[in-house]
Every structure is written in C-alpha cells, then in structure tokens.
Symmetry: C4
Subunit: 273 residues, 4 copies
C-alpha cells in the first residue's frame, strides 16, 4: 500500500512492517500473539453471557474485557500512526472491523448489554489467512467470491422471485389458516413461508387445515426443487472460473482464460506456446 | 408491440412511451414513481394485517389502500387506452397481474378479508428489472427459465417418482403409527411424508414406534440422496446452455464453444465475425 | 415381447395390442380410461381413511373400492390370458405391481386395515409415461437411473460412512444426554442422528447440555457439508452421460460417445463426418 | 506391508495371510465370519441400551458382549503376533480401531456405561470393502476423499466465514430476543444459529419478536444460498479429478481430455499409446 512518494522514517517503517505485514519473523510473532488475544477476548465475551459462569467469575471477566479492549484500542491508534494513509486504512474493511472491535466496550458504558457486540472481533480473525500465508486458502476464497460475484445477476433474479413467492404464499396462508392457526399477521406468515421454503421448518407455526397443508406441500416442494438453482449457478461459475484459471496467458498479448485446448489466442490470434 | 400499421396520434404515442417504456427520462421517472407506489401499497396491506398496528392506524391505512387502488385502477385504464391492442395487453402476463392488483379491493367490499390478496401487487415489482435496464439480470432470469424448461422432462419424471414414494410411505406410516400417533388419515400422512422427504421437518407429527422411526430414516435418507437429482439436472442444463449460448461457430472452420470474448477461433486462428 | 415363434390368433393379437400397447387409437383410449380408474381408486382409498368422510360416505366408498378391485382383477387375468408368456409378465415389474394392486382388498377380508395398501396402485400410474408417448420423459428417467447406477459405487461408500457416523454420533449422544434428555436408547439416538445429519430436524428429541449441543453442531455441519457429495457424484455422472449422448456414431466403426469437437474416431481413427 | 527382509516362518506367514488378506479362500472365510461377529456385537450393544429388552435379556446380552470382547481381544493379539511390524499395525488406522473396539468393555468395569462405546466396532466393518474386493467402491471412496482433499482450501475458507456469520448472528439474536426468548447465553444462541443456517431447524428455540424473525429469515436464506458453495466446490473437484484421471495426453499432438477408452487422438488421429 505505501507508494514510493517519500520514505517513512526507518523506525516507523520497521514497526509498520511488524504490525501490518506477516512476512518478517517479528511481524509473524506479533500477528500470532494478536490472533490469540482476539480469540481469547471473543471467548471471554461469550463466557460472560452464560449466567452460571457470569455469577461466579463476573469480576475477572470484566477485567479481562477491559484489558483486551485497552490493548486493541492502543493497537488501533498504533496502526493509524504507522501507516502512511491513515484515512485509507480507517475506511478499509479491516480498518472498520478494527474500530468496531473496540467501540462496543465504550458504548456499553452508556448502553448496558452492548458489550456483547464485541464478538464482532471474530471478523478480525479472518486476518489469519494472511498471517499463516495460506495463499492457497485466499485463492480459494477469491474464487468463491468471484463465482458469487459473476453469478450475482442470476442470484438477484432468483431471490426476487423467491421474495415474490414467499409474500404471496404467506398471504394465502394468512387467509387460509388465520390468526387462530398461528398465522397472526401477514409479516408472520411471510416469516413462516421463508422458514418453509428453505426447508428450515422450526415447527413453531404449522398448518392445521387440509388446504393449508396442501399449500405447504407445494411450497416446500418448490423450495426443494429450486434449491438446485443457486447451486447450479455457483457450480457453473466455479467450473468456468476454475477452468479459465488453469490455462496460460497468451505469449503475444498476455490475455488469460483461454480454453484448455486452445491453439490460438482468442484475442489476438497469435499461436499459443 | 405496436406494429407499423397506422401511427398512433403523436400525443397518445408520447404518453404510451412514458407509461410502457422506460427508455425516455420521463418514462423512467414515471416507472420509478410507480415502483415506489407499488412497494408502499404492499407494505400498507401487510401492516394492516398486524393487529397492534391495525388497532392504532386503521383509518389512515384504509385510506391509503383506497388511494393506491384508485391510482392503480386509473393506471390500468390508462394503459388500456394508450396501447394499440388493448386485448393483447389485457391477456398478457403483466396485464393480468395489473388487473389482479386492484380487483381484491373491490371484491373485499362483498367478501371481507379478500383485500389481503392485494399483496399480489408484488408481482408488479418484477417490472423493476426492465425499468432499471438490468438487461444482464433479465438474461440471467432467461437462462434460469430455459434451464428449468429444457430439463422439464427429467424434472417431471423426478416429481412423479417422488409423488409415488410419498403416497406409499405415507400410507405405510398411517398403517404403522395410526391415528393415535398423529397420522389421522392417509392425506395427513402424505403431508407428513412430503414434510419429511424434503427435510423440512416441522415436528408437528413425529413417529413414535421403532418401525415408524426406521421408515422415517429410510424416507429422509432417500430425500437427502435425491436432493442431488434436480440439482444435477439443472446444473447440467445451465452448463450446457451457458456454453452454447455465449458463442458462435467459427466462420472459417465451424468449431463451436469459444469463450464469449473470443476474437479469433481457438482452433484455426481465423478471425471470428 | 412376443417373439415371432407362432402368431397369436388375430383376435387375441388385436386385444393384446389394445391392452398392452398404446399405439392404436383403441389402445390409447383403453389405457387412458384405465389411468383414470387407477387415479380415482387411489383417491377413494385415501378419502376412506379420513374419519369425517368415512363416517358420512362409508357405504359408497366401500362399494367403489370393490368395483375398482373387480375391474382391476379382471384386467389382471385378461392380461395373463392375452400375452404369449404369462409367467414372464407375472414376474415383470408391472406384473407384480398389477397383482399387488388388487391383493390388499382380498387380504383385508382377513386382516382389517390392510386395504389401505391399495394405494400401491399409484405405481401403476407410472405407465402414464408410456401411454402419453412421453418418450422424452422416459429418456429423462433413463438418464437419471443410469447416472444413479453408474455412480452406485461412490454412493454405496458414501452411505456406509454416513451409517458409521450416525451410529457413533448417536451412541455418544446417548451417553452425553441419556434417557432423561429424550435419548432413551441407542437405536432412538441413531434415529435422532439421522434426523439431524440430513437436516430434517423434527425437534421431538433435542440436546439440552452444552456438550450435546456442541456435538449436534458438528454433526449437522457435517451433514450440511457432505450434502455436497451425492450431489457432486450425480451431477458429474449426468454431465458425463449427457455429453456422450449428444454426439454421433463413428461412420466407420459405429462407436458412440465421442467428445463434441472430435475430428477423428477415438476407437478406429477414421475421420468423423 | 511385510518387506522382503527376512521371510516369516511359513506357518506364521500362512496365518498372516488368512487374518490380514482376503485373497485366499480361507482368508475370505475368516474375514466374512469376522464381519458377522462384528455386526452381531454392534447389534447386541444397541439392544442392551433399549430398556424393555435390557430388562428381559440382561444376562444373555451381557454374556454375548463378553464373548465378543474375548474373541476380538484374542484376534487383536493374534494380529500383533502375526504381523512383522506390530507397532506399525498398532499405530495404523485399523490397528487403533481394533484396539478401541475392545477397550470400552474393560473400561466399563471401572466406569459403568462406557461399554456403549463398543459401537465403535462399526468402524471395523469398513474393512468389508476390501474383503468383498469392492475395488470399484474403494476407487469411488478414494475419488471422494481426493475431491474433498483437493478442495480443502476452499472448504476451510467457507467454514471460517460460516463460523464468523453464526457467531455474529447468534450474538445479535441474544441481544434481540434475550434469555426470556430462550436465547439464554451467547453459546446457546450460536448453537441456534448453526441449527438455523444449516436449515436443520429443531424448533426448540425460536424467535418471537419481529426483529428476531427478520434476522432469522436473513440467516436461513444465507444458509439456503450458500449450501451451493460446498456443493459447487466438490462437484468441480470431482469433475476435474474424474476427467484428468481417465486420460493421457496424445503422444503425437499432446492434446488432453480424451475419453477413457480412446484409442486414437480426437484431434490428430494418431494412435494413443
């Protein structure tokens, strides 16, 4: 990220490398300690929510929380200080996550309970992929994200139709079963339709009339059948992307993504090596 | 749609473009306002069904409903008037949806409760894809529909077998568990079998005997295994359509299956048309 | 099926064609009437199981059942008489289904309740595919059956592992939660494990302890992840089979299943047309 | 496994072949008897856990358990004695399973209840694939394991994201619904989030507030959509492995992707090696 405009002071550069990169042994050690602290702090927040544990260990858990928050707050300011473009970092995905990882502790001073939101720290653990140089994992993640992204048009259409189906099916169930059947309002009935079409099936609201059960059967069979659609979309995208990845760039124009048996570049017509 | 038989009056043509097309700035604005009205009217119908909200805001919601219905009724007649072939529009998918979007309000004068069916207006929102020129989305939808369509033979066979399995499994459960186990009749037991084979699992009716549980296990494992079948069908169709769609044959050697952005045939190197 | 050993009498042959084939107008009419009778008889059996309906219409439903059974029994003997190899028919899939479609009515004379098994008649409706000349559907079915068949090795392995997982997970839950948690015995716990791993989730038995919930999470995530495996198997088989179907036979040696862009037969090396 | 360092005594070698290999008729018979004993012993452990059966047949089941344990213990020591490298066997997958198949019986002398763990014996039944020479099945298993293995990077990323989603969604639900809604602690809420995102849906804990139901809808739709991701990963890997496995490159022109039984290159017509 730091462009070669003007070098940082060697000392700042040295620390920047430790905090932001995981390439040097020192940076690696720093990041691994950080990951452990993050993991422990998430566990501490979770334990504090268990009544039996909170009753016994309220004080040490509260202290631990403030220690973790202190460390992470210091780390956040350190990051802001070390990097050349603090605003760019502050607005990046990890910059926002880093801020959200400490804010709930301070908010909880005014709004008790909010500190449970500290579990958002778990998002910081996604840094792990970079720390452990899991390049292959990151490639995997990238492929997934690209497959979802390149299939987004189809996925949008798919969810629009699903929304229309659940709104209409929910309203019909509201009319058929009515409040005495548990379908107390159209929004509740739409919630039920989503629970049904996704085959979740909590069973907190269930149809009691023959007509309602018939509509339920149609709805869940629809869900069971169209579960195929996003699967098909994403599979097809992954196959396509994966295939285009495995081939070489054109030696003449450098375009990638040729078919596996291409003899000529599809862009410039030069023979492939 | 309007064939060049005889031009509409310029004024009528002007308005037709605004109402039916979303190409001109005025048409775009008209359609966006319309989409907002549709969305708001659906939300109003939903809110009216929530007892707590209905108790407080019965009057304004009722007024809003009639305002929306009035606007949409006027719009429907405007569309009929503006278009060259009113009957053709009235019988088209959107023509029917537009009519069904206002009818329930009038039916509800005779049949209280029917006005909840006004949520069918949500189908009008599918027009959104055209308004926002989401051509790529429409292509996505088309591909999905075509994949489902070209796989319909296999899907029909699949659901025929599933119907046979659920009827027979349901009847067996009716015999094994009987009315005292909640399986009060064969239709109820078939409903249960559908809930089970799709892995929905409401839990409103559950097997209590060892034999019933064994049959349940077999049934759900069948459903879990054959969930693969529609998935496989649709995936294969999408792959096939996606491949064959995006490319033409090479004009020189006739080879198909080029990538979408190919400028030169990957087999013979001739330029693609 | 009838080999050309010795012709049937023209009259018997004429009737055989009507009853067994759906090629002639008469045969088509016969088979359509039969399909309607089968459908109605299945509906009658279902209705008889609904207490409210049975109370009102017990007599007509009982009469209808015996009329249907009489017709189907006569039809079964007619088929046996008309066909050249009665035993071969009697042992074929449809021969057995035809017999099982009438037997429960007679068994019910001794064993009340057995007549519900008459719903097995629904299997006779699979003949529909042939009657309506849905050749494409039958091809679809064949492709599915072939994909399942050619993937049977992988599917067997898959279900063996799933059996092992559910037996072990069920036993662990039996030890963790015990009878007071609803896991009254190991077979019950295995039933629960199957309900969980398939994501059915009735909710009739649920874990109550932290350890049980942790194991449940692992089990259902396993099921959610490996739902991919049969899907992947069947998809891959369908792709493979579908692909090999679409290409022509070699004009020289007649071998099928070439790749779409093959220029030379992969068996004999002759150029493909 | 035994390297040709120094031959075993013919007698030991003879017995080793019977016990470890299923090639000879005697070895085959030995292994089939063993499989039956394993199957029966698992059934016996299961039956003992059913209260009604245990009450009646406590003594014979207890005796059967000790007989089976005695046989399997003797068999374990026999295996250790017969094989050239006992430690290597003891540390192999099957060596550990064989030991775990008898240990619980002895542990149960001190720790009542532990003997239910004897069902781990079911893992011994995986030997069946080798005994029945189901080479094709083993290949199937190998392909599956390799597909899962070569997709492990993507699968790890996928489950990391799912963990992050369930932790955050669970915490939000804990804040929204709170202990009075059944979400008694964050770990419980995370358990609920896993049950929901996998579409398991026990229904033991369900949202009661509008906001909670909205979040549930988003969560389950996420799970319904991303159920595609592992499916896509594994499908793509299976396709790739299946394809790359079965064919070599053409020795003359180097083109890959021939069908498994190709004798001539489909591109240049040269004979395949």
């Amino acid at each position: 990220m730091p462009e070669q405009e003007e070098p940082l002071s060697p000392r700042r550069e040295h620390w920047r490398e430790i905090v932001f990169e995981a390439e040097t042994p020192a940076g690696r050690r720093f990041n691994i300690v950080l990951l452990w602290l993050i993991g422990l702090s998430v566990v501490a927040v979770m334990l504090e929510s268990v009544p039996e544990i909170a009753a016994k260990y309220a004080a040490p858990l509260r202290i631990a929380e403030w220690v973790f928050t202190g460390i992470f707050t210091a780390e956040y300011f350190l990051r802001l200080y070390l990097i050349r473009h603090p605003l760019r970092y502050a607005r990046s995905f990890y910059g926002i996550v880093d801020l959200l990882s400490v804010l709930p502790a301070y908010v909880a001073l005014l709004l008790p309970g909010a500190h449970a939101l500290l579990v958002i720290r778990i998002l910081r653990m996604l840094r792990m992929f970079r720390v452990f140089k899991m390049v292959r994992h990151v490639n995997g993640a990238e492929l997934l994200v690209r497959a979802l992204y390149s299939g987004r048009a189809k996925i949008t259409v798919f969810f629009s139709f699903m929304l229309a189906i659940t709104v209409i099916a929910g309203t019909l169930m509201y009319l058929i079963e009515g409040p005495e059947g548990g379908f107390t309002s159209i929004p509740t009935a739409i919630y039920w339709a989503i629970v049904t079409i996704t085959t979740l099936g909590f069973g907190d609201i269930t149809p009691g009339t023959p007509l309602g059960r018939m509509l339920t059967s149609v709805l869940v069979l629809t869900g069971y059948a169209i579960i195929a659609v996003p699967t098909g979309i994403v599979s097809a995208e992954i196959s396509r992307l994966d295939g285009s990845d495995t081939t070489d760039a054109c030696p003449s124009c450098g375009v990638c993504g040729h078919l596996a048996d291409a003899k000529f570049c599809r862009r410039c017509g030069a023979p492939m090596a």
